[in-house]
Structures are given as structure tokens and as C-alpha cells.
């Protein structure tokens, strides 16, 4: 009979080993899934994980790693702060959309004026948009005790409809021959979030992601607010006795995660995506949840997890074009990863004992 014994302290070794174990297990079962779909499992896994980094066309894919990784890391850092405190912001996708709409809206309002102040203004607007959208569940939770999970998620659907209305209405390109979608910000120099070093994929969003990682690391390990977040997550009662104000913490955690998601959306719309369209959002807000857990809610971990997840996106695209692997297979693959991660987490918090049961349990 297998028994689990709670560890007094989470295991240090396993807290690093479980993400790796989960990735390996996902590769195995993912390969199995690809085999069921009639693809060569080894070749599929190699295509997804090796090709973008060291393959023949790696020079093209490596910058993509930063482009796809930056929004994931930005969003996941914010989410992790909340998750650590037991504040569940599930609506990052909506905040990402609102950040993009606000950012692009400000940029387009100035069209065709050229000025170096436009891009910084757009950054502020993007951060504000995301912050605003995340503050709704925060305020409702504080004032009325409403569940922030459900509210933030409902707001994703509202934001998606708002995005559709914006790209068909207010922000529609007047010179777009009636097609939905805004002007392309890539062709508007003042608003374009261009690569800092051409061709490197290193745009301002990547810089922001790095700053966010450092900021979150310092916050969590050195600042009293970070301590308040950790205590609230692990022992809410103790936190209250220790003088942590739960309302302020909710406002901060949701606000900052909304802000970062908004920034991610704004950098995306001004750079790689270029324009507001009906299907502008591609689910980064949801994938970032996986990234946050895969990185064990730790800023440095999230950075690596974000890059790994970006790799599965890029590798998935390659596998789609070369092996005709369906796009949904990658989605399943990413979902599996979260599953195995949560399952293996057992080993971090519990010790496995194998032996006979003494008496009936």
C-alpha cells in the first residue's frame, strides 16, 4: 500500500526536479499522442524542441523565441504574484486585449503625427487598460466579496466582444477598403515597437519582461510587500494578525498583473501583430497560467518556463507545416504539461511511503 506523508517543509530538490520531470513525461506522452495521430513520435518531438534552436533555419526561429516568450513571461510574472497570495486572476487574456486596444487607440489617435512621445504614451495607455480591466474584479472582490476567478474570466468574453466592436468600428482603418482591423502600426514609425537590434526579436516588450522578472524577484525576496504576499498565500490568518491589509493586497496583485498583461498586449499590437483585428488575441493569457505554474511561481523559473512554452509554440508551427501535425495537438501538449506538473507536485509536498497498512485507515 502506498501512503503519502506530508513533509514539514516542501522538498527543495523536488521543487526544482518536478518541472523537469513534468516536461520529460509530457514529451513521452506527447510523443504517444503524436504516434496515435500517425506521426513519427521521435521526429515530432525533435521538430518541436530541437529544430527552432539548432535546426537548419534556427537563425530565423531564435528571434521568434523572444517575440513569443516576452508576452508569456510578462503576463505570467503578474499572475504568479497573485497566485502566490491565493488571488486568482484567470482573466489575463481580457486584460491583454484591453491593453492592446488602449495602447493602439492612443497611437492611432495621433496618426499621422510623428513624435518620440507617442510610444511612451502608448505604453502608459496599455498598462492603464490592463490595470483598469483587472481592477474591476479587485474592487468587486473587496466591496462585495465577489469571486475574482469568475469575474475576471467573464471579463475575457466581454473584452473579446469589445475587441470585435473596435476592429469593426472605432479603430477600423479608414483606408482599409472596408476590411475589419485597424491601421498597421508597423507602418507608423512613432508607434512601432520595432526590434531594438534589427532582426534579433529583441523589442521593447522583451526589455519590459526582463525588468518585470527582476522587479518581481526583488519584490518577493527583499521587500516587505513580497513577504506579505507569501504569508497571505501560506497562512492567511497569520497574515491578518501580522497586519497585512487583504484589500490592499488584492488591489495590488490584481492591478499589477493586469498592468503587465496590458503591457504585453500593447507591445504585441505595436510590434509583432501590428494591428487590432478581431482575432488579435491568441490565448497568451491562458498559456501564461501554465507558464506561471511551470516556473513554480518563481520569477527566474517563469523566465525559463516562458522560453520553453514559446519553444512549443514555434516548434508546433514548424511541426504543423512540415509534418502536418494539427495545431490543436500542441494545445493538448501544453495542457498535458500542466497536468503532469500538478501531479508531480505531490512529491514536493509529500513523502511517498510504501508499506503495509497497520490497521484499517
Amino acid at each position: 500500500m502506498i501512503r503519502f506523508e506530508k513533509r514539514p517543509q516542501p522538498s527543495q530538490i523536488f521543487s526544482i526536479a518536478t518541472p523537469l520531470l513534468a516536461v520529460l513525461t509530457t514529451m513521452f506522452f506527447g510523443g504517444l499522442l503524436f504516434a496515435i495521430l500517425g506521426k513519427d513520435p521521435v521526429q515530432s518531438i525533435v521538430t518541436i524542441f530541437w529544430e527552432p534552436l539548432f535546426g537548419e533555419f534556427a537563425f530565423y526561429y531564435r528571434p521568434q523565441l523572444l517575440i513569443k516568450g516576452a508576452p508569456l513571461v510578462l503576463i505570467a510574472i503578474g499572475l504568479a504574484l497573485g497566485f502566490k497570495a491565493g488571488i486568482w486572476n484567470i482573466g489575463a487574456e481580457g486584460q491583454y486585449i484591453m491593453g492592446a486596444i488602449f495602447g493602439a487607440g492612443v497611437g492611432l489617435a495621433f496618426y499621422p503625427t510623428e513624435s518620440i512621445f507617442i510610444f511612451p504614451l502608448m505604453i502608459l495607455a496599455g498598462a492603464f487598460g490592463g490595470w483598469l480591466w483587472a481592477t474591476i474584479p479587485a474592487v468587486l472582490k473587496i466591496k462585495f466579496g465577489t469571486n475574482e476567478i469568475l469575474v475576471s474570466l467573464m471579463l475575457v468574453y466581454v473584452a473579446e466582444q469589445f475587441l470585435a466592436s473596435m476592429s469593426l468600428g472605432l479603430l477600423k482603418n479608414p483606408e482599409g477598403f472596408g476590411f475589419p482591423g485597424s491601421r498597421n502600426l508597423q507602418q507608423y514609425d512613432s508607434a512601432h515597437n520595432a526590434d531594438i537590434i534589427a532582426g534579433s526579436g529583441m523589442h521593447w516588450g522583451v526589455v519590459a519582461a526582463l525588468i518585470a522578472v527582476i522587479f518581481a524577484y526583488v519584490l518577493l525576496s527583499r521587500h516587505s510587500l513580497g513577504f506579505a504576499i507569501r504569508v497571505t498565500g501560506e497562512a492567511p490568518r497569520a497574515a491578518r494578525f501580522g497586519g497585512v491589509n487583504p484589500s490592499r493586497l488584492i488591489l495590488f496583485c490584481l492591478g499589477i498583473s493586469g498592468m503587465l498583461a496590458g503591457l504585453a498586449g500593447m507591445f504585441e499590437v505595436a510590434g509583432p501583430a501590428g494591428q487590432i483585428t478581431i482575432d488579435f488575441n491568441v490565448g497568451y493569457g491562458f498559456t501564461a497560467i501554465i507558464v506561471a505554474f511551470l516556473g513554480r511561481l518563481h520569477p527566474i523559473g517563469i523566465m525559463f518556463a516562458g522560453l520553453l512554452m514559446a519553444l512549443t509554440y514555434i516548434g508546433g508551427d514548424i511541426a504543423q507545416s512540415q509534418l502536418q501535425l494539427p495545431a490543436a495537438a500542441i494545445q493538448v501538449f501544453q495542457g498535458m504539461l500542466l497536468f503532469f506538473l500538478l501531479a508531480f507536485d505531490l512529491l514536493t509536498n509529500y513523502r511517498v511511503r510504501i508499506g503495509l497498512n497497520e490497521v484499517a485507515t
Partner: protein, 306 residues
């Protein structure tokens, strides 16, 4: 705009049908939550049920078999959640999200060859002359069998929770799992069964969307119904009949919103389409003040220490 085009009797009849997916999913989730399990994977189980039911119906030609297999599909997916939360003792919020993300992925993978196909139609129940009663006939006696199955499930859940020993045990497990464990009840087994029931109901609810409401298969077609169902359980303060009431309310809003779109109201379509979600939030705000009805052990991990 022409509001006279909206016939109240047809509207009420349609809202009963529009409410059925939410009703089924919310009733299933209610049972799981009464057992102390917060399963945020409703959306994932619904969409999996939707695709399973659709595939089976198209291949067998029988919507009835489709619904059964949708329930099996949803129940099977929920076993993953049961494994994570009951065996691997993982956080329920995270596990539920994992279930939703996984369900959305696996459903679009399974359904990719079924886009654009029309499923076999499920005939309405034949009540004979009853359905010709003016007013009442179209509202009460002109639906497909699943509408009535949904109502029976609500009644069954209510009666089981209120009058039977099994219901009492389930509630005990949800209110205080340590006490229930001390009395010798198998907390994990009971919770696993409750989770599976929730999965089966959500699966059927999903299949109702893909087989009867829409009826065709598109990726992510449940579009948040699973989350609305979760909100509904809170709204209903964990009571079956209130779930029914809430489901009709939301069904009514959805249907009215669609009818208004059709009637050409001055509001843009997008803003009308937002309304069910915004109203969900408003209702949550109004009803969240009273949390006293929530099962005591809701969302907590049970681990029998020795």
C-alpha cells in the same frame, strides 16, 4: 427596430431550451461542490462532451447514443481532475484550470474532421394533443427529451440531497471532511463519484449545445457557458431549485439578446453579445454578500494524516 416580432410564447419556449446546457452543467457542478470539490474544469468537460456527443451521433446516426457517450466523455475527463485533486492532492483551482485548457485542446483535436457537418436531429417528445394547448403547449410540451431529462436530474439531485442517506453523507463530506472521515466515510471515493457525476452532466450539457442548440461543431463553441454554470452555483447558494431558476434567467437573457439582435436593435451586435457575461457579473455582485451557504470544506484538500 421591430420588437413586435418577438413572440413571448416562442421566447419562453426557446429560453427553456437555451437554459438546458447551463442547467445540466450547473446541476452537476452543484453536486461536486456539495461534496466539497470546486471543479473549475466545467468548461473543459462541456466542450469535451460536446465533441464526443457530436462524433458519436454523426457516426451512429443516433443523438441518444451521442448524449450517453457525451456523458461518458465528460465523466472520463473529470477522472483526470479526480486523480489530480484526490490522489495527487493538487490545488483544486489549478487542476480545474488544467482540465479546461486540456479539454479545449483535446476537443478541437478530436473534432477537426467534423467541422461543417450537420448532426442527426433529435425528434421532440410526442405528447399528442397536449402540445396543441394554446400557450402552455409550445412552452411545456414541445421539447426534445433532453430538456425533460435535465429537469428530472434537477429533481433527482434535490430529492437525493434532501431525503436520502446517500445525500446526507455527500453533504457531510462537503461540510466537514475530517468529521466525515472520522465517522468512517470514504471521503475520496465519495468525492470522486461526485466529480464524475459533475463531469457526466457537464458533458451532456455540452452535447446539447453541439447537437441541438447550434447544431454543428466549431472549436471552443461552448464560449464560456461552463463558467456561467459555475457562477450559477454560487448564485443558487448551492440549492438545486434555485439552479433551475437561475438557468432559466440566463437562458432568457441569452435568448432575448439573440432575438434583439434579430430584431435589429440600435445597439451593435457585440454589445448585445456581451450582455450575458456582464449580467453574470452583476448577479454575482448582488448575491455574493451571503457566503454562509457555501459547503464548509469547499475547495480544501483532504489528506488523512495518520
Amino acid at each position: 427596430m421591430d420588437l413586435s416580432a418577438i413572440n413571448p410564447i416562442i421566447l419562453v419556449a426557446a429560453l427553456i431550451s437555451a437554459a438546458t446546457p447551463i442547467l445540466l452543467a450547473a446541476t452537476g457542478e452543484l453536486v461536486a461542490e456539495r461534496a466539497g470539490v470546486l471543479n473549475l474544469g466545467v468548461e473543459g468537460m462541456m466542450i469535451t462532451g460536446a465533441v464526443c456527443g457530436f462524433i458519436i451521433s454523426v457516426n451512429t446516426g443516433s443523438p441518444a447514443i451521442g448524449f450517453v457517450m457525451a456523458a461518458v466523455g465528460g465523466g472520463t475527463l473529470s477522472l483526470l481532475f479526480a486523480f489530480l485533486t484526490q490522489v495527487a492532492l493538487a490545488n483544486q483551482v489549478a487542476s480545474g484550470l488544467a482540465l479546461t485548457l486540456f479539454g479545449l485542446g483535446i476537443s478541437s483535436l478530436m473534432g477537426q474532421n467534423y467541422v461543417g457537418i450537420k448532426p442527426p436531429r433529435m425528434p421532440d417528445v410526442n405528447f399528442g394533443p397536449l402540445s396543441d394547448i394554446p400557450g402552455l403547449g409550445p412552452i411545456l410540451f414541445s421539447h426534445d427529451p433532453i430538456v425533460y431529462v435535465g429537469l428530472l436530474i434537477v429533481a433527482g439531485v434535490w430529492a437525493t440531497l434532501k431525503f436520502t442517506r446517500a445525500g446526507l453523507i455527500l453533504r457531510a463530506v462537503g461540510e466537514n471532511h475530517d468529521a466525515a472521515h472520522a465517522l468512517g466515510y470514504k471521503v475520496k471515493r465519495i468525492r470522486t463519484l461526485a466529480i464524475m457525476f459533475g463531469g457526466a452532466c457537464a458533458g451532456m450539457g455540452g452535447a446539447y449545445i453541439s447537437l441541438i442548440r447550434v447544431p454543428q461543431w466549431t472549436e471552443g463553441m461552448t464560449a464560456g457557458v461552463g463558467w456561467i454554470a459555475l457562477a450559477l452555483v454560487v448564485f443558487a447558494s448551492w440549492k438545486p431549485w434555485r439552479v433551475l431558476l437561475g438557468a432559466y434567467l440566463f437562458g432568457g437573457i441569452t435568448q432575448l439578446q439573440l432575438n434583439l439582435q434579430g430584431a435589429g436593435v440600435a445597439l451593435p451586435v457585440e454589445y448585445l453579445a456581451m450582455s450575458p457575461y456582464i449580467i453574470t457579473i452583476v448577479v454575482l455582485v448582488i448575491l455574493s454578500a451571503d457566503k454562509s451557504r457555501a459547503p464548509g470544506s469547499l475547495g480544501r484538500i483532504f489528506h488523512a494524516s495518520q
